[in-house]
């Protein structure tokens, strides 16, 4: 019983982290119809900036997080206005090729600047074991889970209950109609990509304090994020959260009761089943499209 409880706790914590690292991907797809293959690399950039600020500059963790969000948000806005803008409405392929190009550029630029050594973001939370009955957790994991929850709630409120959020949703539903009622759709696209980028790099900086971060980490992050969003439904916010938790718990139980060696396969097995049974994922957002 204790064994199962510990596995569930591990799975839920990991699931939250998976959800967080997939949010930016699902948001950009849901609100822009862009499949962002540079997602994992934006995560990596966030982690490395977080490391540089906390370790090299000596900045406070939360200040570093804020700087990461603002800096990468601004960069995301510019990426959209300067690059994605040029391939908008030219089919999915050009967007995919563009973001793959961005991902290669980011990885290799990071390799040139910081090299290949893994780094860690310094956080103020303790890594000592914390015993909750039979279950072991750490203060840092619990704190990051709490910060994840706050971030998710904030983004949810932003999209559902602010003028900017309404404009984002209007733009993806029908860009022409949105611009007829006075929404500057070009800027809204920029803001949406900025939000997705900021979320990806915030996840990188937060999780960089639990795990490590390095220039070549992007591919793995993207892979898991794609599993999560396909499970939950591409573009669905609630889907990403549920998809993340399902993946986390499934991996923990599989690893605990069978073998940890093939744990990465379980996510893809789930994806295959999901595509056969519910091709649009647990929370389909198909109805939202015009």
């Amino acid at each position: 019983m204790d064994f199962l409880l510990q596995l569930l706790a591990n799975g839920l914590v990991n699931g939250t982290f998976y959800a967080l690292s997939a949010l930016g991907l699902t948001l950009i797809f849901g609100l822009m119809r862009v499949v962002n293959f540079a997602h994992g690399e934006l995560y990596m950039v966030g982690g490395l900036i977080g490391w540089a600020l906390t370790e090299l500059v000596g900045a406070n963790f939360f200040l570093a997080l804020l700087i990461v969000v603002i800096a990468t948000g601004a960069a995301g806005y510019l990426i959209d206005r300067w690059l994605i803008e040029r391939v908008r409405n030219q089919g999915a392929e050009s967007g995919i090729l563009l973001t793959i190009g961005i991902s290669i550029f980011l990885t290799n630029t990071a390799l040139l600047i910081v090299g290949t050594v893994p780094h860690k973001v310094l956080s103020p939370f303790a890594n000592k074991p914390l015993f909750l009955g039979p279950v072991v957790l750490t203060q840092s994991r619990l704190s990051i889970v709490a910060i994840c929850a706050v971030l998710m709630l904030a983004v949810h409120l932003l999209i559902k209950h602010t003028t900017l959020g309404r404009a984002m949703r209007a733009t993806v539903q029908d860009a022409m109609a949105a611009s007829l009622v006075g929404i500057r759709t070009e800027r809204i696209h920029g803001f949406t990509f900025a939000l997705g980028t900021a979320l990806a790099s915030a996840a990188g900086a937060l999780l960089g304090s639990i795990y490590v971060t390095q220039p070549t980490i992007g591919g793995l992050v993207s892979l898991k994020a794609f599993v999560v969003v396909i499970l939950g439904g591409l573009g669905s916010f609630a889907g990403a959260i549920i998809g993340g938790l399902v993946l986390g718990v499934a991996e923990a139980l599989w690893g605990g009761y069978f073998a940890t060696g093939y744990v990465d396969a379980i996510g893809f097995a789930l994806v295959i089943v999901m595509l056969l049974v519910r091709p649009y994922g647990l929370f389909s957002v198909k109805s939202e499209r015009a």
Partner: protein
Amino acid sequence: MRKTCLGIAASVVMAATAAQAQETIKIGLIQPLTGSVAYNGKTDVNGATLAVDMRNAKGGVMGKKIDLVVEDGQCRPAESVNAAEKLIQRDKVVALAGAFCSSATLAVMPVAANYKIPLITGVSSNASLTEKGNKYFFRATETDELLAKSFAKVVFDTLKLRNVAYIGVNDDWGRGGVAEFEKQMTALGAKTVMKEYFEHGTTDFYTLLTKLKSSGADGAFVAAETQDGSIFVKQKAEFGLPVKVFGVGSWATADFIKLTGDASEGLYAAVPYASTMTTPKNKAFVDAYVERFKEPPGKYSAAGFNSLNIMMDAIERAGSTDAEKIRESLTKTNYEGPNGHFQFDAKGQATGFSVVLVQLQKGVPNVIATTTVEH
């Protein structure tokens, strides 16, 4: 990236060629300078460069300067073969060293044999390489099998491990290491209580640690490289597990210790080289290395240093840059390196050098036991 790198490498090579007089002896070195093990490849190149520079400062080999030509093999078979072809055909090197990953070295071996160019590796540890019957290939490091044979007894006697958990990265090296250690430890009387593998790049070991906790192991054997190993060790400390950890891979390096911090306290690691080894040769090597590169040498720095020294010694003894004579001369190697004595058997496998069991204490790998690699 690849193009840029090759471009830079090419221009460096050209500049070097132009600057040097005609009378140099060229040795080619293939290491991963980009990709996931680029950091480790770079330290190997540093060690090799130091060996060459020290030799040139003393007048070189046969009165000629040695010119080390470095190519990026990316730890991939195809790129490493391209690098070898380029070094042999364009640069006309007389000998090769490399290519880090066993799979890459395996791909370069037939190229070397084809052109009759001697090839030495200081890193690739897959036991099968020296079983290929390639007479131009020499290995100046331990194999996974020899390491397990040399250490199982030390671990059993010194650390008194009886209920052992085996954890390895899910590739040929990790699985090979686990299989070999388990065999040796079981023969000594230890009981296997758990055997698990994890993927390269795993970020979360809590599931594995939960299993380790309930397995009742008093010690865990872990085969992992810097990144995976450091995360495992940190999370084990977070988990509050009192299980002794005994690792193979690059565990006693400065980066590993920096990444793990306090969590590395008390860890045991089996390594073919530690900068704290006490031989006089090692002291001189560490001093020169620290002065040049501002950090203590790791196992791959020593590997690069040894490989190049063994090759240069062989050329000196051969008294010629004729490949066949260098090969002949390599078989008679009798080299004293920072980590002991090297000589080759009929298959080109080195024996006679030391491997050490270290314990990390306050961020320093202290040598607990030294043993010599024999057949």
